[in-house]
């Protein structure tokens, strides 16, 4: 256990930055290229989780607990956001029987 803790403490800051940058980019690309609304929601969640990881890493780096508290705010907001998003998705599914965002074409000029 203590060995594991030692390893965790010697992981340099930039590794955390790289991992969360990679996760964030995966999320962004997913939002841009996926066409299924539920997959897009999950990609937004990946973005938010990469941010949470980075916040915790920075918080330890600065010896400041504010960052970890902020993570809880982010989680609460993300939960509220997904609740609203899924509700919107259900109303869409009732009307057009599909969750593919390419089927949403009523508003084009």
């Amino acid at each position: 256990m203590s060995l594991l803790l030692n390893i965790l403490q010697v992981v340099p800051m930039q590794y955390y930055l790289m991992v969360s940058a990679a996760l964030f980019s995966i999320g962004v690309l997913g939002v841009l290229f996926r066409r299924n609304a539920i997959t897009i929601f999950m990609c937004v969640e990946i973005m938010l989780n990469s941010i949470n990881l980075l916040l915790v890493a920075f918080s330890t780096y600065h010896n400041d607990s504010n960052g970890q508290v902020f993570v809880f705010f982010v989680m609460a907001v993300a939960a509220a956001e997904v609740a609203v998003g899924l509700a919107i998705l259900v109303t869409i599914f009732r009307n057009i029987r599909s969750v593919d965002i390419d089927d949403l074409k009523a508003l084009k000029n």
């Binding site: 930055l17 964030f24 999320g27 962004v28 939002v31 609304a37 897009i40 937004v44 973005m47 938010l48 990469s50 941010i51 980075l54 916040l55 920075f58 780096y61 600065h62 400041d64 504010n66 960052g67 508290v69 902020f70 705010f73 982010v74 907001v77 509220a80 956001e81 609203v84 998003g85 509700a87 919107i88 998705l89 109303t91 869409i92 009307n95 057009i96 965002i101 949403l104 009523a106 508003l107 084009k108 000029n109």
Partner: protein
């Protein structure tokens, strides 16, 4: 602080009102509540600035005056709701409660002193708007508007949050004062500047500035008309106030790194908004693109970081919101009669309903910037301050474009006088007339005596 607390309680009261069988009285009670909260807030206008909740919120002249503006906008729009929700009265208290919660988010956005409050405020406002955009559940267009708004909005919030995180990583604090100390004290890290750019992108999304404006016309067209009015006034003013507060406190020192990007985007926003509006047939889409153009004008306040921009920004927000609310009040009547939001729907209104037409014409004159209405002075103050910051070419470009914009505002005015079979026999609800009248009267008063509405 007390504005935020009382407004939250008002929102909770709306939710409980259905249990107390207050459906008929709800809207008058809420408007009364908003007026009372406005009065209590007004008493603080000249008070010393104070901070609350461990420096999460700070009330100063900026936050108090913008809170008052947001309360005024919400009161006008909630009073329009009396007629709007007639077909579905059982949901009335829910919708009004969500509008009030959006107002809470807006108040948090104008009085934050910490990044946490900034983020929470933006999210409360946005999540309420996602719901309100989709309130017309049976209509595919309204569903689609809600979905688009939700996807774009949550994506933008993610980018904004990444920016906040990187700034925390560089400066070690979420407090605005500490961040600005960090930015002035030493050479900031590269991730600090990346953070600024990411926050800038997120906020440009929220204020619908080019190249992140593409959601706005679709969302505005698909949402129910009252919600369009709410988003284009409350949402825009609150986002701009938050934008200005954040950038003037924290990032003005780093202006050189993002200033030129902002200038290019302002020119692009004004141009795209104007030229897309020229060929629109729908009233809502015209106002959506006019909102994009006006976002470009208001962005000049953020770009002119050396000027005293609180006053011009406040006055511009006031005149833009009042004119938009006045125009939408008339459009609500027209669309309730003709069931259409095309410009042709307005044909012949001037012969049948002269008062409403006159109010619409005045509102359009004000947005277009024709004196003696407030819109002219709003543009004048803004451009004059921007000139002092050395944005000569930008101001020239903005003036040329605001002359071009007169064309599409007048398209609506000319439609009023066109021949048509539409008789407009239904008497307009007195609420629509009253709200349009109040909005236009305030526009004229603010145009004649701008000093009354300049708290700074």
């Amino acid at each position: 602080m007390k504005t935020l607390t009382y407004t939250s309680f008002l929102g909770i009261f709306c939710l409980v009102a259905e249990l107390l069988n207050l459906r008929k009285l709800l809207i008058p009670l809420v408007v009364l509540g908003l007026v009372v909260i406005g009065g209590l807030t007004y008493a603080d206008l000249n008070a010393e600035s104070a901070s609350y909740f461990h420096d999460m919120l700070r009330t100063d002249k900026f936050s108090v005056s913008f809170s008052l503006l947001l309360l005024l906008i919400t009161a006008l729009i909630v009073s329009l709701g009396q007629n709007f929700f007639k077909e579905d009265p059982s949901k009335l208290s829910d919708y009004i409660a969500i509008i009030i919660f959006a107002l809470c988010g807006g108040i948090a956005m104008v009085s934050f002193a910490n990044m946490a409050m900034f983020y929470i405020g933006i999210e409360i406002l946005s999540i309420s708007f996602y719901i309100l955009a989709g309130t017309n559940k049976k209509d595919v267009k309204s569903n689609e508007a809600a979905m688009k708004y939700f996807l774009m909005g949550s994506f933008a919030s993610g980018i904004l949050l990444m920016g906040i995180t990187l700034i925390y990583g560089a400066s070690g604090s979420f407090n605005l004062g500490d961040i600005s100390l960090y930015a002035t004290a030493r050479n900031a890290d590269a991730i600090f500047f990346i953070g600024i750019i990411l926050i800038l992108i997120g906020l440009l999304f929220k204020v619908s500035a080019a190249p992140f404006h593409f959601w706005a016309p679709d969302v505005y067209e698909g949402s129910p008309m009252l919600m369009t009015a709410l988003m284009s006034t409350l949402g825009k003013v609150a986002s701009f106030a938050a934008f200005y507060r954040l950038f003037s406190i924290c990032f003005s020192i780093s202006y050189d790194t993002y200033g030129w990007v902002l200038s290019v985007l302002i020119a692009l926003t004004i141009l795209i908004g104007n030229f897309s509006a020229l060929r629109q047939e729908s009233f809502k889409r015209i106002l959506a693109f006019s909102g994009v153009t006006n976002a470009g004008f208001m962005l000049m306040a953020i770009s002119s970081i050396y000027g005293k921009m609180e006053g011009p920004l406040f006055f511009y927000g006031l005149s833009y919101s009042l004119a938009t609310i006045g125009a939408f009040a008339v459009a609500l009547y027209v669309s309730s009669v003709t069931k259409s939001d095309k410009i042709e729907a307005f044909n012949g209104l001037a012969y049948k309903r002269p008062l409403l037409s006159a109010l619409l014409i005045f509102a359009m004159f004000s947005i277009a910037g024709i004196p003696p209405f407030a819109g002219f002075f709003a543009k004048y103050f803004l451009f004059a301050e921007a000139l002092k910051s050395g944005h000569f070419w930008l101001v020239l470009f903005a003036i040329v474009n605001s002359i071009i914009s007169v064309y599409y505002y007048f398209k609506v005015v000319f439609a009023l006088f066109a021949k048509s079979e539409q008789t407009f026999e239904e008497t307009p609800s007195p609420v629509y007339v009253a709200v349009a009248l109040v909005a236009v009267a305030l526009l004229i008063i603010a145009g004649v005596a701008p000093g009354l509405f300049m708290p700074f």
